[in-house]
């Protein structure tokens, strides 16, 4: 079951290291993400987007404040699609997808069926036995997306998932992600997308949070009221893109 995410008065400081002074990245940062919604965080490099994502993922701890879900964090099923696919090179494609199911209590046959179904959805069934090093960058990221959806996540975090790919591949994967997001047969998670691509944010997100400043603050929150499924060439996306750019430039 997807969950609301409450980012409550978070402060994040990185201690001084060597010649680098202490860095205050977030101060009294507050935000709510509604259950089942996909929110994109955009902003200039170093503005704290990835810090917010890491705090939600539990990969980092806030100096003050908290990230809260509807249930205790251990009861939240969390998945991440990283910028790099982060696959285990010595496991086959299906093993890479299946490994995240090992924490579930599902029967083996059911786990296998889930893996097969996801590999069908990401159009890699013929590569089920291949090792990741034998796949292209786009194919590897598709495996990573399949892995993220395998556990039917409550919260899905997307950390610049397509930024390392060529634009044509990225466009295909955005469409793939949208189709998985809209798949009625699966529970829709609460999503957080970090991206530098404003059109990508407009295409995928329900709301776009424009961040800026040091320490980071929310400059604007833009509602994307475009009906899904969206088309990547929809002129309405460019209008959203223009508003995001305006918000960024005004900051």
């Amino acid at each position: 079951m997807s969950s609301n995410i409450r980012i409550e008065s978070i402060e994040k400081r990185y201690p001084a290291r060597g010649a680098d002074p202490e860095k205050l990245v977030l101060k009294a940062f507050d935000f709510r993400i509604r259950s089942g919604e996909l929110v994109a965080l955009v902003g200039p490099s170093g503005c704290g987007k990835s810090t917010v994502l890491n705090l939600i993922a539990g990969l980092d701890k806030p100096t003050r404040g908290a990230v809260a879900f509807d249930r205790p964090v251990d009861a939240i099923n969390l998945s991440v699609v990283f910028q790099q696919p982060r696959l285990l090179d010595w496991l086959s494609v299906q093993e890479n997808v299946g490994i995240v199911l090992t924490r579930s209590n599902a029967a083996l046959a059911q786990q296998q069926a889930t893996v097969r179904s996801l590999l069908d959805k990401v159009e890699l069934p013929e590569h089920a036995n291949a090792y990741p090093q034998f796949l292209s960058g786009g194919q590897r990221q598709r495996v990573s997306i399949a892995r993220a959806f395998a556990t039917t996540p409550d919260v899905l975090l997307l950390d610049e998932p397509f930024s390392a790919l060529d634009e044509l591949t990225a466009r295909r994967l955005r469409l793939l992600l949208q189709s998985l997001w809209l798949d009625e047969s699966r529970q829709r998670p609460t999503g957080v997308l970090v991206t530098h691509n404003m059109l990508e944010a407009a295409f995928l997100a329900d709301r776009i949070v424009v961040m800026g400043g040091t320490p980071a603050e929310i400059r604007d929150v833009i509602q994307v009221d475009i009906e899904r499924p969206r088309h990547p060439d929809d002129p309405a996306l460019f209008e959203v893109h223009r508003r995001v750019m305006e918000a960024l430039q005004s900051s």
Binding site: L59, L88, E95, T102, Q111, A128, T151
Partner: protein
């Protein structure tokens, strides 16, 4: 059903070599072996030229060496003595591996442990095998403990470094992935740590085995009444140069068999997922 006993065996990836036709595999084998055969031809020819030029019992002919080699092999003497030496080496090696695994992992995950063990590792790398051999013979006398401990001490630093590097090679990004997906410890050990360490341990073992051979020979010379080292010493005492060379060659052949029969297949298996290797 134990959910931890995953899935992951659904279908193992096919071994790349299985798909290659027999003729192509034979051609490949010939291309690999031809330079090595050429090496032996050049070596034997060069030796023969030297022997004829020297015309001395100190440089015996290839035929005399071959005769001695065949004699010790067919009599069953060489296999038994090589077996003794291998048994001692293997025991010492296993002891070293059992110690190297926890220390290597510890030094990779703890800065304190790394600094603590560093002088010991450098000491181990610096001390010649001869010193370990002498000390162990003094301490343990003519017993199995001498070669086993000497080999373990000689091999330990190389193995610790291999394990250390293996653990360090696991990228921080993968550790984060494991953390986010909350993978069970048993799965992390079996499907992440073990495969990562596997290839490093195999290459460490290859290096370690060559070090072990140099140590075991010395221990057998100084303190044992059998084994290849003892036989080398016996042949040396009687100035039987053919014997010294034949025993050396017999052990070399045994090491080649270990290399091609154990280490290389293990290494291919450990690296089967690497693009360059499989291709």
């Amino acid at each position: 059903m134990d959910a931890k006993e995953l899935t992951l065996d659904v279908t193992r990836p096919p071994h790349p070599e299985r798909a290659v036709p027999v003729a192509q595999r034979l051609r490949g084998a010939w291309h690999r072996l031809a330079p090595q055969i050429l090496f032996f031809v050049v070596l034997i020819a060069g030796w023969e030229v030297m022997a004829r030029a020297a015309h001395s019992p100190l440089v015996p002919s290839s035929a005399a060496i071959a005769h001695e080699l065949v004699k010790i092999c067919l009599s069953g003497f060489a296999p038994v003595e090589i077996g003794n030496t291998f048994l001692r080496m293997s025991l010492g090696f296993l002891l070293a591996l059992a110690i190297a695994l926890p220390i290597g992992i510890l030094t990779a995950v703890s800065r304190f442990a790394e600094r603590f063990f560093e002088p010991g590792i450098i000491l181990g790398l610096t001390v010649p095998g001869l010193v370990w051999a002498l000390l162990c013979v003094i301490w343990f006398g003519v017993s199995l403990a001498s070669p086993v401990v000497a080999v373990a001490l000689g091999v330990l630093p190389a193995l610790i470094i291999s394990v250390h590097q293996g653990v360090r090679s696991l990228a921080h990004e993968l550790v984060e992935m494991v953390q986010v997906f909350r993978l069970p410890t048993s799965i992390v050990l079996r499907h992440i740590w073990l495969p990562v360490l596997y290839s490093f341990i195999v290459s460490g073992c290859r290096v370690g085995f060559s070090i072990a051979w140099k140590v075991i020979v010395l221990v057998e010379i100084f303190g044992m009444s059998d084994g290849v080292g003892y036989q080398l010493n016996a042949q040396f005492s009687t100035q039987n140069v053919e014997g010294v060379i034949a025993w050396t060659l017999s052990f070399w052949v045994a090491m080649l068999l270990v290399e091609h029969g154990i280490f290389q297949p293990l290494e291919r298996h450990a690296n089967r997922w690497k693009k360059g290797v499989a291709a």
